[in-house]
């Protein structure tokens, strides 16, 4: 019997959609640099421009505003560093690729539910009149909590600031409309929505000007140099189209996720679902078992063939306390004891059952009433 494996780490990366695989295969089969004048080059250029339209359509943007980059991290850097704004404000729960882009950026506080404190943002912006950029993600990668991006944009614009929205986790999971949000810049990543890794986009809406971060041959209308990643771009476009068409899949995902949370609550009243009472992505559960380290939980689940993560999948594999949960004012037993379970369009009820069986076993084995209080 083969070992059962359940992949519940979709916020780290999603499997490639078949539509994207076909588009990549077709693009890999052809050669040509989109900047070359000859017909192979022109065919490649046409493919890039069609892809630009498909990616733009996912968030209702103008194709001219799409700048293809190497991924979400680069998109966030380009937004923050390329905006040319003297003052940068970022929420305390942003992804590291935003926090690290401008280490001196001012932090915008969030409340206990992880939602940006709008009144404080308003006061912060009023206190300093230098041209500013506000960067707040649409949905958080660790908790799935959805920020009131439209209201943030309105406040930012009232003070003459640009608004950048990292929609890497939200796009493809919930409808995103750049115009409805009022965002000036939006970051997207292909591999989070069923496209290939190594490609993403920064989408420029409105009049935001961009200073390039990577200079050279003047590709992407001077906003991002380097020969275009043609198969990546084609795969991204196909995935974006499929994601837009498959948005209804998330109704089913939502039901599975809610079933998971209900079952956990029944088994373990001590477990905490982060952001349970605010708008969240339909696929994400940040689940805390106070006093049991996230690393221990993740390893125990992995031994049972259930793949989840302890927050963001980044460099070192080291599991430290989550900066996202700390910013929400969570106590140490929560910031170090939370795992992320994230579902996707092929997740099955059997996989949720698999998770629940493994998690229940670890809960019975490892959870000690009162241990959390002692640890704290």
């Amino acid at each position: 019997m083969t070992r059962r494996e359940s992949y519940l780490d979709w916020n780290a990366t999603a499997p490639l959609r078949p539509e994207a695989a076909a588009a990549i295969a077709a693009a890999l089969d052809r050669c040509g640099n989109p900047s070359s004048v000859h017909r192979w080059g022109r065919a490649a250029r046409q493919m890039v421009e069609r892809a630009r339209e498909a990616v733009a359509a996912l968030i209702g943007a103008d194709p001219q505003g799409v700048v293809f980059v190497s991924g979400g991290t680069e998109a966030n850097h380009l937004a923050l560093l390329g905006s040319g704004r003297e003052r940068v404000l970022v929420s305390a729960v942003e992804h590291n690729s935003v926090l690290q882009a401008v280490p001196s950026a001012e932090r915008i506080a969030v409340d206990a539910n992880g939602i940006v404190d709008l009144a404080r943002l308003d006061r912060q912006l009023a206190a300093d009149t230098r041209p500013a950029l506000v960067s707040v993600m649409l949905a958080n990668n660790e908790t799935g909590i959805i920020e009131p991006a439209g209201e943030i944009a309105t406040i930012a614009h009232r003070h003459g600031a640009l608004f950048h929205c990292d929609a890497v986790q939200a796009a493809g999971k919930i409808p995103v409309d750049i115009g409805a949000i009022g965002a000036d810049l939006v970051s997207l990543s292909a591999h989070k929505l069923g496209g290939p890794p190594g490609i993403g986009a920064l989408i420029v809406g409105g009049a935001a000007d961009l200073r390039p971060m990577i200079r050279g041959g003047g590709q992407e209308r001077g906003r991002r140099a380097g020969s275009e990643n043609l198969p990546g771009i084609a795969g991204f476009a196909a995935a974006a189209t499929a994601a837009a068409q498959g948005m209804a899949d998330y109704d089913r995902v939502w039901q599975l996720r809610d079933k998971l949370e209900a079952a956990v609550a029944e088994t373990a009243p001590e477990a905490v679902v982060i952001g349970a009472h605010v708008p969240r992505l339909p696929n994400t559960t940040a689940l805390a078992l106070p006093g049991v380290s996230a690393e221990t939980q993740v390893i125990a689940l992995d031994l049972d063939g259930v793949m989840v993560s302890a927050g963001a999948a980044c460099s070192s594999g080291k599991v430290g306390p989550s900066h996202v949960l700390a910013a929400m004012g969570a106590p140490p037993e929560i910031t170090t004891g939370t795992i992320r379970v994230s579902l996707g369009w092929t997740t099955t009820a059997a996989e949720i059952e698999h998770f629940l069986a493994a998690w229940t076993a670890l809960y019975r084995r490892l959870y000690r009433p009162g241990a959390a209080a002692r640890a704290a």
């Binding site: 050669c31 080059g41 490609i199 140099a225 275009e228 690393e295 993560s309």
Partner: protein, 414 residues
């Protein structure tokens, strides 16, 4: 054009012959085969160390890193994956300069001077220009008429303030190979770092970071029959070369390049490097033979063909030729069955004559009459013969037209 060549008969789909391999190369099917599983069953995020999907992906990336390192005699830990050579060049130049400015040597002043060549790729020149605007001093050294840098000139340009020299290993437009070992020895003796943009050279000619004393080397995937969207930067560990990252975040690639690594692309670059390592010697001989056949037959059939760039120190598969009496865009238009270009793909859409050819001292007219021909792994002798037929017929027809136009006193287009 002469009667339908046998090559034409073999090309029912009417695809042109691809002689633009400097711009991009087709993916080798063996590379594709290696990549495919990492698009599908091994799709995990390589940085998800908590489960086997992630660990399998990272293991494949580390194998690829070793394959890239081996081709240039480096340690795998000295290879950082990037989105391509443009990013690698930006990271090398800006990263080294910014680190030096942020960490001045105790007691001394920060090194704030860079040397590069006027014929470098746009992404090196643009990065240097950015640093210039930030207050760094940049010397843009001219090259000799053969495209090579004069070592005594380079030696004279190095000062106590010089941080690094950036010289392209092999040229994208004219194919000339710079004397890297000599440049490396000179830089090492003077305590200056050497960066080389090896996008065109990596996998085509032997490169050895130890023997050549190279400190930083930019590498591209899609120039060596690997995938687009991936490249690498070699960063010497001993003595250690320090850079500030361009892209920060999750801290991947030892903090030098954040962002989720694209597993299939890294695997493809690794496989492409391994294939190049195994086949480079024989392939170079084969390509040199084809190139000499192309050049020799053109010389015989077309009067007044001039080779741009040094004839000897040149990539095996690269030619840059002037056909005085016509313009390159007209020739490209007249030969739709050959995919070729006037120079760098990045700038080939513009009508300005190549700054590289002008730097060799070519007149504007001759620079405008120059095309770049690049053969590759999948180029055949039959294709070369077809190209000779098509080019020689088109050149003589265009030259005749040009003469008629001149005789009538109509200004020529250009």
């Amino acid at each position: 054009m002469s009667a339908v060549s046998p090559v034409m008969a073999q090309r029912p789909n009417a695809l042109p012959i691809y002689l633009d391999n400097q711009s991009s190369t087709p993916l080798d099917p063996r590379v594709l085969e290696a990549m495919l599983p990492y698009f599908s069953e091994h799709f995990g995020n390589p940085h998800s160390e908590s489960h086997v999907y992630g660990r399998n992906a990272m293991a494949a990336i580390e194998t690829a890193r070793g394959e890239v390192a081996r081709l240039i005699n480096a340690d795998p830990r000295e290879i950082v994956f990037t989105s391509g050579a443009t990013e690698s060049n930006n990271l090398a130049l800006k990263g080294a300069a910014h680190f030096a400015r942020a960490h001045p040597v105790a007691g001394g002043r920060a090194r704030d001077h860079l040397i590069t060549l006027t014929t470098e790729h746009k992404c090196v020149l643009e990065s240097a220009a950015t640093l210039e605007r930030e207050g760094f001093a940049v010397t843009y050294l001219p090259v000799e008429p053969n495209g090579l840098v004069a070592l005594d000139r380079l030696a004279a340009a190095i000062t106590e303030r010089t941080l690094f020299v950036s010289v392209m290993a092999a040229h994208n437009e004219i194919g000339v190979i710079q004397p890297l070992a000599e440049i490396g020895a000179l830089c090492r003796a003077r305590g200056v770092l050497l960066h080389t943009d090896a996008a065109q050279a990596f996998g085509k000619i032997a490169l050895d970071v130890e023997a050549m004393r190279i400190d930083l080397m930019s590498i591209s995937g899609h120039k060596i029959y690997g995938p687009k969207g991936v490249g690498a930067l070699y960063i010497r560990r001993r003595p250690r070369v320090r850079l500030l990252p361009l892209i920060d975040g999750g801290g991947q690639e030892r903090g030098l390049r954040s962002g989720t690594l694209p597993t299939p692309l890294c695997v493809g670059l690794g496989r492409a490097a391994a294939l190049a390592a195994a086949e480079m010697g024989e392939e170079a001989t084969r390509l040199r033979g084809l190139r000499d056949r192309l050049y020799g037959n053109l010389m015989r059939r077309v009067p007044d063909v001039q080779l741009n760039g040094d004839a000897e120190h040149r990539l095996p598969a690269s030619l840059n030729l002037s056909f005085p009496g016509l313009t390159a865009p007209a020739l490209i238009e007249a030969c739709p069955m050959i995919a070729m270009s006037t120079g760098s793909a990045c700038t080939s859409a513009s009508v300005e004559p190549s700054y590289v050819l002008r730097a060799l001292g070519l007149s504007e007219a001759r620079a405008n009459a120059s095309i770049r021909l690049g053969l590759g792994r999948f180029t055949t002798a039959a294709e070369v013969d077809f190209a000779v037929d098509a080019l020689s017929a088109s050149v003589s027809r265009l030259r005749k037209q040009e003469k008629v136009t001149e005789a009538r006193g109509i200004p020529t287009s250009g």
